[in-house]
Amino acid sequence: MELRRSLEILMRRWWLIVGLPLLVLVGSLLHTASEPYTATVRASILIPGDTEATGNATNPELMVLDDAPVLVGSHAFAADVFANLPASAKPLGLDVQRVQQALSGSRYSRILTINVKSADQQVALAIAQAAAAALPTSIDQYMIAAHGQPATVRIIDPPESAGRGGAHRLLIVVVEVLVALAAGIGLAAFAAALDERLYTLAETETVLGLPVLADVRGRRFGRRRWRLPGGSA
């Protein structure tokens, strides 16, 4: 009974409970729709002489790998990627500068992740594929000393598609909507706590200690109920 009463009180502000999640859902979907397409390439990179002594200044292989994301964002790498673009990508109207703007990288241990972002799905995928092709050569060219032993670069996640919002976007949207729903319920409860108005017949009778003899508002205001002076309905 208490639960039902609580629900009735909350539903007086149903628009808040429904509206807030709806607003968040629409905002989230719009945000997703305006996001660029992203294609990802992951590669493991082994620099010759890696001793597993992370941070050892005399064996700075992993520290050298810190330069890999910088390399990915460079004009030199963009030029290599542009050179590796397939012939089918020519009509897309790309140039080195656009390729450079689309590329970004990050490193975790020996894994280099290259993200390619573009408003055009085909462009994102084409650049990512070209980046995967250009990466081994570029690493050797720009991160290994001249005449040194080449690095071992293996593409572990080749680009297969370009999508929006990342893999967990749906989950994020669902969580956002659920949080908004909880916030809407909280706001409705808070507003109800501050609201001193009378709403229901039972509430009126309780507050005033008087019987409600009639509800003369009409159908749209809810059920009517009669009570004879003696108390019987």
């Binding site: 509800d215 003369v216 009517r224 009669w226």
Partner: protein, 240 residues
């Protein structure tokens, strides 16, 4: 016209016409008011069976007082319900200049403010196009100079309402929040119905109005849930 009228007078030459919307018994509010009239009749019957009812009270009368809204529409419907049930019914409108019902009653030109007493004299009872229903535009307490004059005037009006068998009087008061002087009427009538507008009336206001009515000697029979009459022109705003 404002002269003291010793006997009830029905001016049949000038009939106030109630809006057809109120005459239709099909509407839900009309049906509700018919049921409410049955409840009140039962209450009056119970009171009549109990000896010792305050003689100052008009036995078969009822004050409709809204916490923060007018009660003209409800009062008119209730009065029509009694009249259509064959009871001689007097609707006493004590809202501002006694015209709270104007939105619902087409008043002939002759029924102007000059007909409304504001000097302690009695307003006449005007016939309406509803058989058995008389209308008394009795003016506001402020216009007549204060609580005692209003109470005195209404008391004398109640004495002069038809005394035939089963004759009843419905007094429509302005919202108590804007015209607390209407409280003085509570002790004159058989009972009071406190009108509350769900979704608008606040708990503190309702409790304050209830306590004020008790303090004024009113016998509150119960509460009615009424629509906000402000928009209809018969509510608190127009009765101010």
């Amino acid at each position: 016209m404002n002269a003291l009228i010793e006997e009830p007078r029905v001016d049949s030459d000038r009939v106030a016409r109630v809006s057809p919307a109120f005459l239709s018994g099909e509407s839900e509010p009309a049906a509700h008011c018919r049921s409410l009239a049955t409840v009140l009749a039962a209450r009056w019957g119970m009171d009549a069976a109990v000896a010792g009812l305050d003689e100052q009270r008009h036995a078969r009368s009822c004050l409709l007082a809204g916490v923060d809204t007018g009660t003209a529409a409800v009062g008119l419907r209730l009065a029509i319900a009694f009249a259509q049930a064959g009871r001689a019914t007097t609707l006493i409108d004590v809202t501002e200049t006694g015209r709270g019902c104007d939105r619902f009653v087409e008043v002939p030109p002759a029924l102007t403010s000059s007909d409304v007493s504001n000097d302690g004299a009695f307003s006449p009872i005007y016939a309406t196009n509803v058989p058995n229903l008389g209308l008394v535009p009795a003016g506001s307490s402020e216009a007549s100079g204060g609580d005692l004059q209003l109470a005195d005037r209404v008391a004398r009006l109640l004495q002069r309402t038809p005394t035939v068998e089963q004759g009843v009087a419905i007094v429509v008061a302005p919202a108590l929040s804007v015209a607390p002087s209407a409280l003085a009427l509570a002790r004159l009538v058989g009972g009071v119905l406190l009108a509350v507008t769900p979704g608008r009336t606040t708990r503190p206001d309702a409790v304050r109005a209830r306590d004020a009515l008790y303090a004024a000697g009113g016998r509150i029979w119960g509460v009615i849930l009424a629509a906000d009459e402000r928009g209809s022109g018969a509510g608190a705003t127009s009765e101010r």
